[in-house]
Subunit: 312 residues, 2 copies
């Protein structure tokens, strides 16, 4: 029941030594999703030993170079590597022209099914689902059309209460119906046992929100309410707040204020300005407002644990 | 009197661990030129401690992604870094659309002077000069419009013959005219000393040719005749010759045959197919035909020495 987030690049606009531009892997139940795709993402995937071919969906927040300039290399390398399964790319208006024009300019041929989904980044809508998750856009406030993404696990099935199964001698063949269909069970003695007695509540679902790049925006609070993990950009320290406002980025304290308002479980900062060689102060400023804050470190894995004993 | 070539990436189409896509720095008399610009070039420049801002000219061979996908990141990072000196980019037809469209798609603004020179890659012409060098195109045979580049030092001035200057008591004030203008000198006793006695022949000029990507093409031999250093792509071993022909690439032996025909001083192989984890055999196959062959290694510096004692 994996649910983990791995930043491949935590830098802002300009790559500097040891800090790459934005790209992130989200692994939910062993499906991996790529979020943003800065220059060099295909190399980062290789360095961190993620199999590129496992990516089936890519979510792009906006078309600034530090979030998108690795996309054409990745898409065309997929061709050269013989990919034959579909790839879906989600991103704000303009992404289709960007991809299609560059495929043409670089004389590339895409033999696999490439589905590009242009999104309206000003609205919060459901854009993707598979058997495990739903994905929604998060409208962000930046200099160009930008959206974040909310990933939420689908409601799980109730768990089988092993003790009760033994107590009532429930045969194995009946268990699937009890779990999947909500069946009740009748014992050999003719006693009806309700489904609610044979099962335990499902584990709660987990959620992750990705918010980059954005100015401070309280409008996102209801959308990301109580998520387990919030990645929020924190380009600047307080002392550069004017620069943050001018460039429509957030300070670490902006990120922490949003995390507190939304009552999230954990905040992860990233997208650090290249002017800061050391970023501990970003964490310090955020923790003053929201203590459960960490700095995203490239290649580290941030796990979202399953709540094993819910009081539901 | 520097003249040295540094490969930043020696891989072919797909980047693999430890092998980047095509990009190279040529340093001639402390001016640095970038030749091709695969994805991640700006990071490679930083890793190898080349100051990006020193680049004033970029030469692109063709618009396949492994030679050009780092260009937009570099050009836009120059903006963010406050560049205010001009940048010239040379490349085959199509490069202007590629750059201008991507500047638009990525919402970028280029505040410095950006001069894009579209070239006809089917002809051998002079395209650039400064006080040190002349640059010419080399028509190559590839699946898309492609040209190599020939860099040749300009004719130098004759050297002052220190011994004769002392013998004839030539004052310092006269030396500039003797060296720069070819002046003769008249001694205090009225004896005319010809310029040819006061000077030694200039050091010979050096030349470097870059030929990637290309099928075997004897047409380039007269253009690259007797260059000091030839970089020639060598994507394949002999046993993959059919693949080389199909994809319009060269084998290592193709490169060596061209080097031998052109009587170059030294051959450097590069652009190795990702199918070869070890490339020694490429060198072995080339050396069988042209012994003075080396493998381009990323980050290594290949110097072209000045011939200090010419017999001219």
């Amino acid at each position: 029941m994996t649910f983990e987030f791995t930043p491949l690049g935590v830098g802002a606009a300009i790559p500097i030594a040891g800090r790459h531009t934005s790209a992130h892997i989200l692994n939910i139940q062993d499906q991996i999703y790529l979020i943003d795709c800065g220059e060099g993402t295909q190399m980062r995937l290789e360095q961190l030993q993620f199999r590129r071919s496992r990516i089936k969906q890519i979510f792009i927040s906006h078309l600034h170079g530090d979030h998108v300039l690795g996309l054409i290399g990745l898409v065309t390398s997929f061709s050269l590597l013989g990919r034959d399964i579909p790839l879906s790319i989600f991103g704000p208006t303009g992404i289709k022209d960007f991809i299609e024009a560059n495929i043409k300019y670089t004389h590339s041929h895409i033999p696999y099914e490439l589905n590009i989904h242009e999104l309206d980044p000003t609205v919060h809508i459901h854009i993707f689902e598979n058997q495990n998750i739903d994905v929604y856009t998060i409208p962000l406030q930046h200099r160009v059309p930008t959206c974040g993404y909310l990933f939420r696990e689908k409601q799980r099935l109730p768990r089988i209460n092993i003790q009760k199964i033994e107590d009532y001698n429930v045969p194995k063949t009946a268990i699937r119906g009890i779990k999947m269909e909500g069946d009740d069970f009748t014992t050999e003695e003719g006693k009806l046992i309700l489904n609610s007695e044979l099962t335990l509540p499902a584990y709660p679902t987990r959620a992750f929100a990705y918010c980059s790049d954005t100015a401070y925006s309280e409008a996102i609070v209801p959308i990301i309410k109580e998520v387990d993990l919030l990645y929020h950009e924190a380009t600047y320290l307080n002392r550069h707040q004017k620069q943050a406002e001018f460039s429509m980025h957030s300070t670490a304290q902006d990120a922490a204020t949003i995390a507190k308002s939304a009552d999230v479980k954990r905040l992860l900062l990233g997208h650090y300005s290249s002017r800061y060689l050391h970023v501990d102060l970003l964490r310090d400023e955020a923790q003053y407002i929201f203590p459960n804050t960490d700095l995203a470190i490239e290649g580290d894995v941030y796990k979202v644990p399953l709540e094993k004993n819910p009081q539901a």
